[in-house]
């Protein structure tokens, strides 16, 4: 960590390098050994930038892995009939696809962005707990090795959905369920440590003058997200432990024969599960709140309102969990309570959308790729929000629940929502990370291919659900054939489109038009005051914030 002696070391202009292969400059930072290189650099790093990079690459690898599983799913669903995979393996694919995307792609991506950007945004030299930071990352590949490895064991991997309801996961789960539990525990520990780090960093390490209501929205949303994580990840750990003991140690939490209740599992799981989905979207809101102003040339409209709205969403997220359970046989008053609370969440979410549009209104917009993704986010996430509102209406939900209508909803908010925001963030900050501008033309290919294919892939799913197709089935009735074919084609196209992004990122790291400290003319924030690529040590001396 930064010691007084190192404050004398200027990390700015003199050392800023943009060599072809390294994203950062290292020169004389540590007075006792030279810069780490090679494998040790990455294994032992305590630099928020390096760890951020590790998280981002890991998340991208997981995104492609989970995506490959989705390709298998869509290939089987291309036509009615069972052509490619065994139904049990299909269930494993849907399960692990979900787990990998949620815990391996989206959450680590946001954590990577947090690591890279939060210290710079608040004028801090690094995260508060750099060694714990390293551990938080490195246990993740371990966890996913176990999870994905379990697919290859006799009996196969988890096949009970990412939501692992009991007793399907307890009495009727495969032998590898213990490994699934173990890997979820590790993912949870990683998230919790990351959340603690984020909170301590933001609370304790802001540069003087960086008061609460001067914080960038990305920092606010991550702060709130971190509190959500600490509140609910341990509950997931509890749920998954109860599944373990029910299955292997003779407890009966969820077994009616022993006095337990399968529905209790759902309550405990969704108490975690609902805040979890807000954990997966709040950082997105922060990203969009950074990008829209930068490319509209106007300050974010209603900053205070945005902060309060985010807090409201976080608080409300604890009151809506049973909207995933409307068909379990809850009494009417409970269904009404959860319906009203769920509908209520639309209010602060809507406020955010209106504030973004108001930011754009009478601005002077330019449409660089980050802005394209941000605008796409606003439209497509809102569409996902509308299907969410429809789902909140209990009598209608009886027809939508566990059909492709739900699949459409959450993929709209997670893929064209969260994932698009992550891509927007990548395009926005790649110049800062690498020192190079990305290939503009390639980025436009990526954008247009993605936005078209994502809609071909997920929009027709609304119709499938309304027409009566349940989810998590490997084969379906004839009337669903045509739409499934279109969806599958969209899926293949979307998958291929992401390879453009992969190529673009690799190309950008290797070289490109040199990026200035602030490649986006009207962007604001402390991160744009340091050179591009950001030197290995930034803000060893706290900046002046007015």
């Amino acid at each position: 960590m930064s010691k007084p002696i190192e404050k004398a070391v200027k990390s700015a202009p003199a050392e800023a390098q943009t060599t072809a292969n390294t994203t950062i400059a290292i020169e004389g930072d540590h007075d006792h050994h030279h810069a780490p290189k090679g494998l040790t650099r990455w294994l032992y790093s305590t630099s928020h930038k390096d760890i951020g990079t590790l998280y981002l690459w890991f998340s991208f690898a997981m995104f492609l892995t989970g995506g490959a599983m989705a390709m298998i799913i869509r290939a089987e669903l291309f036509q009615p009939g069972l052509q490619l995979v065994d139904p049990q393996f299909f269930n494993q694919m849907t399960t692990v696809h979900g787990l990998v995307m949620v815990f391996g792609a989206v959450m680590p991506a946001f954590t990577g962005l947090a690591n890279w950007m939060i210290p710079m945004m608040i004028g801090a030299p690094d995260m508060a707990l750099p060694r714990m930071n390293n551990l938080s990352f490195w246990i993740l590949p371990f966890a996913f090795l176990i999870l994905i490895g379990s697919l290859f064991l006799p009996g196969g991997g988890p096949d009970f959905g990412w939501t692992f309801y009991a007793p399907l996961s307890t009495t009727y789960g495969p032998d590898s369920t213990a490994l699934f539990v173990f890997s979820v525990h590790i993912m949870g520990i990683s998230s919790i440590m990351g959340a603690i780090n984020v909170i301590v960093t933001i609370v304790n390490m802001r540069a003087p003058g960086m008061t609460w209501f001067k914080l960038p929205m990305f920092v606010w949303t991550w702060l709130i997200t971190a509190f959500l994580l600490i509140a609910v990840m341990p509950v997931l750990a509890g749920a998954v432990t109860m599944v373990l003991t029910d299955k292997y140690f003779g407890t009966s939490f969820f077994d009616a024969a022993g006095g337990g209740d399968p529905v209790m599992f759902q309550h405990i799981f969704w108490f975690f599960g609902h805040p979890e989905v807000y954990i997966m979207i709040l950082p997105s809101f922060g990203i969009i709140s950074a990008i829209i102003p930068a490319f509209s040339g106007k300050k974010l409209f209603g900053y205070h309102s945005m902060v309060y709205a985010t807090c409201s969403i976080a608080l409300l997220s604890f009151l809506v969990w049973a909207h995933h359970m409307f068909t379990t046989g809850m009494p009417v008053f409970a269904e009404l309570f959860f319906m009203y609370c769920t509908m209520l969440i639309a209010v602060p979410t809507g406020v955010k959308v209106f504030n973004w549009v108001a930011t754009m209104w009478r601005g002077a917009m330019t449409f660089e790729t980050p802005m394209l993704f941000a605008i796409a986010f606003i439209v497509l996430f809102t569409i996902g929000g509308f299907s969410g509102l429809m789902l909140a209406i209990v009598p209608a939900d009886f027809q939508y629940h566990d059909t492709y209508f739900v699949v459409a909803h959450f993929h709209y908010v997670l893929v064209s929502g969260a994932v698009f925001s992550i891509m927007a963030a990548a395009y926005y900050w790649l110049p800062k990370w690498t020192g190079n501008m990305y290939d503009q033309k390639l980025s436009l290919w990526h954008f247009w291919c993605s936005i078209i294919s994502v809609n071909v892939l997920f929009f027709p799913m609304h119709f499938l659900g309304l027409a009566g197709m349940p989810r998590r089935i490997p084969d379906y009735a004839i009337q669903f054939a045509d739409i499934n074919q279109i969806v599958s084609i969209g899926g293949f196209a979307f998958g291929l489109s992401q390879l453009i992004f992969l190529w673009l990122v690799i190309k950008c790291i290797r070289g490109g038009e040199k990026a200035t400290a602030k490649p986006w003319e009207r962007a604001e924030g402390l991160e744009w005051t340091v050179p591009s690529p950001a030197p290995h040590h930034t803000f060893t001396t706290p900046p002046k914030v007015d």
């Binding site: 407890t251 939490f253 809850m330």
Partner: protein, 196 residues
């Protein structure tokens, strides 16, 4: 920039919060039962005997149909059915009926009946003075038994409830997931202590 010690202090607080939430996850288990009890939902009737209130009057202006259902777990080789499939009762009236069980196998087995009431909100008003579901029921091979059920519906049961279905699912005891469950053991201990 704050010092390392204030980082440490905050970290410890957050770790404590984490531990508390982990405990909360487990606390949700008894909390769930308490909430179901307090709100009178989930179709869970009490697993301890109710005491008949003195001076309880039957409300003869109302009739509630009580249906009796029996469900046998597939791996339990017993016949199990209610003696009477339904009866029309008055709230406040003490009713006695029974379920009949026959062990079709040649082996001595122990059964545990798990009750469930529909609608779930009706469970709070369904009080069992004596029920075979309070304990495990042993039955020798080829033997039959008639298992008593004495209950009353509380007189203040809301007007919206006009039909109550009581269903028992009969499981083999101990539960199949291996050793006897901690939950069911403690319940039987509880019953041993509290049965009148």
């Amino acid at each position: 920039m704050q010092s390392n010690s204030s980082n440490k202090k905050l970290t410890i607080k957050l770790l404590l919060a984490t531990a508390l939430m982990f405990g909360f996850g487990f606390a949700l288990v008894p909390l769930y039962d308490i909430m179901c009890d307090a709100l009178g939902i989930n179709g869970k009737t009490s697993d301890v005997a109710a005491i008949q209130p003195t001076g309880m009057q039957a409300d003869i202006t109302r009739t509630i149909r009580v249906e009796f259902m029996a469900h046998v777990s597939p791996d339990m080789p017993w016949e199990f059915k209610p003696k009477v499939v339904y009866m029309d009762v008055h709230p406040g009236e003490v009713i006695q009926t029974e379920y009949l069980a026959f062990n079709q196998s040649g082996e001595d087995l122990v059964g545990q009946a798990v009750p469930s009431v529909s609608p779930g909100t009706g469970a709070a008003y369904f009080n069992k003075i004596e029920c075979f579901c309070f304990n495990q029921q042993p039955l020798e091979g080829k033997q039959q038994a008639s298992m008593p059920l004495i209950f009353y519906i509380e007189p203040d049961v809301p007007d919206s409830i006009h039909t109550l279905t009581l269903s028992y699912t009969l499981y083999k005891f101990p539960p199949q997931s291996g050793e006897s469950s901690v939950v069911s053991l403690s319940r039987s201990e509880q019953q041993a202590g509290e049965r009148l």
